[in-house]
Amino acid sequence: MLGGIIGPVVTVLLAVVFPALAAGVLRALVRTSLLLTLPIAISALLVNLFFFPGGHQVLLRLGPITATAEGLGFALEILVRIMAISGAITLFYLATRPQDLVVDLERRGVSARVAFVANASVQTVPAMVERAQQIAAAQRARGLDTEGSLRRRVRGVLPIVGPVILGSIAEVEERTLALEARGFTRPGRRTLLWWPSDSTRQRLARWALVLALLALVVARIAGRLG
C-alpha cells in the first residue's frame, strides 16, 4: 500500500525539508505550507479514503460509506505530492530576498529594464493609495459626500478615480524623463555594485538537486517508482 509513497516522500525530504533546514526556515515553512494546503489536503483525504474505486480492504464502516486501505494509500500518496509542490513553492518565497533574486538574474543576463520593472512595481500600489487619499480629501472639502447614502457615494467615484489615473500617468511621464536623463535607456549591461555571493556548497547543492531530479524522472519512466 505504501509502496507508491516512497518516491514522493524522498523528494520532499531532499528537495524541501533539508534545504529548509539549511536555510533556517523549516518552522515557518511547515506552518505556511500546512495553512496553504489544509483545505485541499482534507478534501483529498476524505474523498479518496471513502470513495476510492477498487478499494477492497475495509478499514472503517460509517453507514453507507466505507474507508478502504487502498483508498488510504492513494490519499497519502496525493497528500505527499501536494506537500512536495506547496513546500517547494513556499521554500522559494521564504528563502529568497526579492532584491537578491533580481540582482542575480540581472548578473546572469536578464535585461536591466526587466529587473527595474520587477523592483519598481512594488512601490506603485502604496503610492496610488496615498494619492487617492489626498484626492478624496480635496473633493470632500468641496462637498463630496462620503458619509451619506450609497447612491451619493457612487457618484463620488469619478472625481476620485479620474485624478488618480491622470495623475499617475502624468507622474509616469515625469519619471520617464528623469530616468532617461540618467542614462537608463543605454543598451547593454549596467554595472552592478553588489550581488549575492555564491559558494561552492551552494553550487554543489544546485547540481545535486538537478541530478536528483533527472534520476527521479528516469526512474519514473523506467517504471521503478510506480
Binding site: 494619492r131 484626492i135 470632500r140 472639502a141 468641496r142 462637498g143 451619506g148 472625481p159 491622470l166
Partner: protein, 270 residues
C-alpha cells in the same frame, strides 16, 4: 460670518503615533486674515484640516460659531469652511474649467442662475473668465492652481483656507492670489493661509501664527512676529524675517516687516 475656535487640540496620527498637533488653542474672529507659518511637519496642515472636519481631534475640540464641528459631517462643514489644497492636480477631474468650478457649489445644492453667477464671479476673480471651455490640462501649472482656488471660491464660504497658495506661482499668479485674498477680506470673509513666503505673509495678513513641533510658538501682528525679539524663535524653526525687518532693525527704526513700512520709517526721519 462665523468665528472659529480651537481648544486644546491634540492630534495623534494612528499610523506611527506621530503627535502632529500637540495642544493648540486658537481663536480666529470673523473677517480676520491669518497666516500660519512653520516648517513641513510643524503641524500646520494637520491643524487646518480640523477646521473643515477632514481630521477629527484625538482630544480637544473645534468650534464653528460656538458649535462643535464634531456634530457635522465634512460635507456640511464645506458650506462654511472652504479649503484649497496645495496640489491642484490632486483635485482636478473635469473636462472643462467651468465644469471644474461648478463641482463645489453643485455639491452644496446651488443651481441655475445662482450657480452661473457664482462660477462667473470666481473665474473672473482668478483671471480665467476667457478659459471657461478650456481643458484644465491645457492650462499651465500656475493657472491650474488658480483654477483650484476658483473652484473653492465659487462655494462662497465665509471662511477660506489656502494651503500654500503661492508655491509654484509666478509673480502674476501671486498678484492674483493677493487680490483674491483682499477681495475676500473686503467681503468680510475670514482668510487663513499656510505659506512659506515671508514677504507675502508680512504684506497681506494682520496676524501671523508660527508653529513648531505641533505647537504655536508665536502669534501676533507681523510687527511683533518679525520684530527683533522674535528672531531667535524664528531661527529655531528655520524661518527668516523679511529683509525690510532686518534692515529696519539695523537702522534702529523699530519693527518694519514690510518694504512700505521701512520706507515710511526712513521718510519720517527727514
Amino acid at each position: 460670518m462665523p468665528d472659529l475656535a480651537v481648544e486644546s487640540l491634540i492630534h495623534v496620527y494612528r499610523e506611527g503615533g506621530v503627535r502632529a498637533v500637540d495642544g493648540v488653542d486658537l481663536r480666529i474672529g470673523a473677517g480676520e486674515r491669518v497666516a500660519i507659518v512653520g516648517q513641513n511637519g510643524s503641524g500646520k496642515s494637520t491643524l487646518v484640516r480640523h477646521l473643515n472636519g477632514l481630521l477629527r481631534p484625538t482630544s480637544g475640540r473645534v468650534l464653528l460659531d460656538g458649535v462643535d464641528a464634531a456634530m457635522r459631517t465634512v460635507a456640511q462643514l464645506a458650506r462654511s469652511v472652504g479649503l484649497v489644497f496645495q496640489d491642484p492636480d490632486r483635485q482636478i477631474f473635469a473636462g472643462s474649467v467651468r465644469a471644474e468650478v461648478e463641482y463645489g457649489p453643485r455639491n452644496l445644492g446651488i443651481r441655475g442662475e445662482e450657480l452661473r453667477s457664482a462660477v462667473d464671479w470666481a473665474l473672473a476673480a482668478v483671471g480665467l473668465e476667457f478659459d471657461a471651455k478650456t481643458n484644465p490640462y491645457d492650462l499651465g501649472a500656475s493657472r491650474r492652481k488658480l483654477l483650484a482656488l476658483a473652484s473653492v471660491l465659487a462655494m462662497r464660504t465665509p471662511v477660506l483656507i489656502l494651503d500654500e497658495p503661492t508655491t509654484g506661482q509666478d509673480e502674476r499668479g501671486v498678484q492674483r492670489v493677493r487680490s483674491v485674498i483682499g477681495e475676500a477680506h473686503a467681503q468680510g470673509r475670514s482668510v487663513i493661509a499656510i505659506s512659506h513666503d515671508m514677504r507675502f505673509v508680512a504684506e497681506g495678513f494682520e496676524r501671523v501664527v508660527v508653529m513648531r513641533d505641533g505647537r504655536v510658538t508665536l502669534d501676533g501682528p507681523p510687527e511683533q512676529v518679525f520684530g527683533r525679539d522674535a528672531w531667535d524663535q524664528l531661527a529655531a524653526t528655520f524661518l527668516e524675517p523679511p529683509l525690510p525687518a532686518v534692515i529696519g532693525d539695523r537702522l534702529g527704526l523699530g519693527s518694519t516687516p514690510t518694504d512700505e513700512m521701512l520706507i515710511r520709517a526712513l521718510a519720517s526721519l527727514g
